[in-house]
Amino acid sequence: MIPLAAIDWHSVFFFLFAALACGCAVAVVAAENVVRMALYLVLSLGATAGLFFLAGAEFVGAMQLMIYVGGTLVLLVFGVMLTAQAPFVSIKTAPGDRVLAGVIGAALLAVLLQSAFSVPEWRKPAAGRDGEPAATPLGMALLGTRVDEASAGAPGGVRSGYLLPFEIVSVHLLVVLVGAAYLARAKRRRTPRAIEVAASMEPPATVAAHAAVGREGSRGGSVLAGGAR
């Protein structure tokens, strides 16, 4: 019998989220359907965000929700789009592969767990240590000012923050953005289907009519497609 008063609620929530995260992660491995995999992945990532909140990294947690989970949303959409056709919804894996992967995974897990338990200081936290929320110091650090260490009077003076990595990541993201735009770009290309559709428009009644009327408005299809795909 556990006295209710003795329950550490932080631990309870931790186990709740941890179980959700781990369970969903395992479910990702187990699931066959790619859309379900994506769903489990989202749940796992979301639960991990909860763990971040518990660990006092609220900003990272919110970031995880916004970017990671949002990014996975795109994955999901692509998954739906590409694999909604029956042959790709589930591609079966040979049982042998599964067993092999299981063995190797178990070995890896064992190694990781061994190291996780290897440091006694990590097992138990000190009592009564309350973490300061880190959003503002983190934000300032990203701008190049380390308020946390300055206030703590860290030896060696104030360290510069993460301005440079922040900028690098910004540029990196920009490059990726450009790359994504390149991927989704629309280009005019003559393919058999284009010829067929163009031919089916002969006699070019509507085209000629549009030309005669004088203003052929843009159909805006590219915007749609650029966004929707």
Binding site: M81, Q85, L183, A184, R185, A186, K187, R188, R189, R190, T191, A194, I195, V197, A198, A199, M201, E202, A205, T206, V207, A208, A209, H210, A212, V213, G214, R215, E216, G217, R219, G220, G221, S222, L224, A225, A228, R229
Partner: protein
């Protein structure tokens, strides 16, 4: 195959995608009844539209060959059930043409009065439902509010609100009840300022314009090639109106009436200073213009109603009785097209001299107007399909018959 120029609307993407076949209808909110459109789409872009019709086929023409001419009148009610008065009129005139029968002067003016009111009622539905197609609900109810008042008037005159059988071969079934004209004028006076609200809600609404202007552009030639008629034809700038250009027996009905056909001439609509200006994006023949022509015709019909009220009340004497139920029709055939709200409604009958026509045939405008839809929808977005089909203002009862 000879070289074909690139169609600028065909855009290929890196990502390989498959086409999709989608059924729009027959149970779909925006297909105006039991129309079924099969869309071939590439994402949101529609590459082909194929209308499937016949869900409402009732063998109306065949029934007409088993009934006397006057008995068939209620069946015409069910063709364009939104403008049944005009259907009655079309059939009655066709039969009268074969019989070379002339109704009394008073009946003639009453017919104009009723037919034009029917046109207003029909256009109100067309306008309201079009708003519904574009995703705005309120104009629909505003339109129906006014339509109800017209239906009240009709009910008073003939006892029915939808299928009137009021205008009939050889005249009308009854004269107007006392005080009707006053109530009609009161309605007109009350209705007139409300049209401005419709313009504010729809015609000049920026989103409405964005959704309709330059969408489904139908050139003059295309409209003529497909045999479009009515506001659909006039929306493409073709100056044709059966009330003015039709056969003598029909145009005689409008003798002495002043009206201007609602069509854009030299870049101007008649009396266009009274209406909102044509938006910059709109192109003659697009959805906006079709819609706008209907709005103009509402005003035009109100004008005609007022004129006919004056003339009708100036006519002394009896209205005249309609022909007998089983009046014999002289042998021969006759075809007559009238300007119904949706377009040119043609009736054809062949008689062998008996009271029952040997052959009855109807030519409905919605049928031709719908036929042009695949041409207009090619390359548009899915959301444009309701906008285009709605702007054609079809009614399935007329198409399937």
């Amino acid at each position: 195959m000879s070289h074909v120029a690139d169609d600028p609307r065909i855009i290929e993407f890196d990502v390989r995608t498959d086409e999709m076949l989608v059924n729009m209808g027959p149970q779909h909110p925006s297909t105006h009844g039991v129309l079924r459109l099969v869309l071939r789409t590439d994402g949101e872009v529609v590459s082909e539209v194929e209308p499937h019709i016949g869900y409402l086929h009732r063998c109306a023409e065949k029934i007409g060959e088993n009934l006397t001419a006057r008995q068939w009148i209620p069946y015409t009610d069910r063709m364009d059930y939104l403008a049944a008065m005009n259907m009655n009129l079309g059939w009655a005139l066709a039969v009268e043409k074969l019989m070379k029968y002339q109704v009394s002067e008073k009946a003639r003016h009453l017919r104009v009065l009723i037919a034009e009111l029917g046109r207003i009622a029909s256009h109100l539905v067309g306008m309201g439902a079009y708003g519904l197609d574009l995703g705005t609900f309120s104009p629909f109810l505003y339109a129906f509010r006014e339509r109800e008042k017209i239906l009240d008037l009709f009910e008073e005159a003939c006892g029915a609100r939808l299928t009137y059988s009021y205008i009939t071969v050889g005249g009308l079934t009854a004269d107007l009840p006392p005080g009707w004209l006053g109530r009609c004028e009161a309605f007109l006076d009350q209705f007139e300022p409300i049209i401005k609200e419709y313009h504010a809600l729809l015609t000049t609404n920026a989103i409405f314009v964005k959704r309709t202007a330059n969408i489904g552009v139908m050139s003059r030639d295309l409209a003529i090639e497909y045999g479009c008629s009515g506001p659909v034809l006039r929306g493409s700038g073709v100056d044709q109106d059966m009330r003015r250009d039709g056969e003598a027996i029909y145009t005689a009905m409008y003798d002495g009436y002043a009206f201007e056909v609602a069509v854009m001439k030299d870049g101007h609509y008649p009396r266009d200073h009274e209406y909102p200006p044509v938006p910059a994006d709109a192109v003659l023949g697009d959805c906006w213009h079709r819609f706008f022509v209907r709005m103009l015709e509402v005003v035009q019909s109100m004008d005609l109603v007022r004129q006919s009220i004056d003339r009708y009340s100036a006519c002394k004497g009896p209205l005249g009785e309609p022909l007998k139920l089983a009046e014999k029709i002289p042998a021969g055939d006759a075809y007559l097209e009238t300007e119904a709200p949706k377009g040119q409604m043609g009736f054809y009958l062949v008689s062998d001299g008996s009271a029952i026509p040997w052959r009855v045939r109807a030519r409905s405008s919605s049928f031709s107007n719908l036929a042009v839809a695949p041409e207009l929808c090619r390359g548009c977005l899915i959301a444009d399909v309701p906008a285009i089909v709605g702007s054609l203002d079809i009614v399935m009862g007329e198409i399937d018959r």
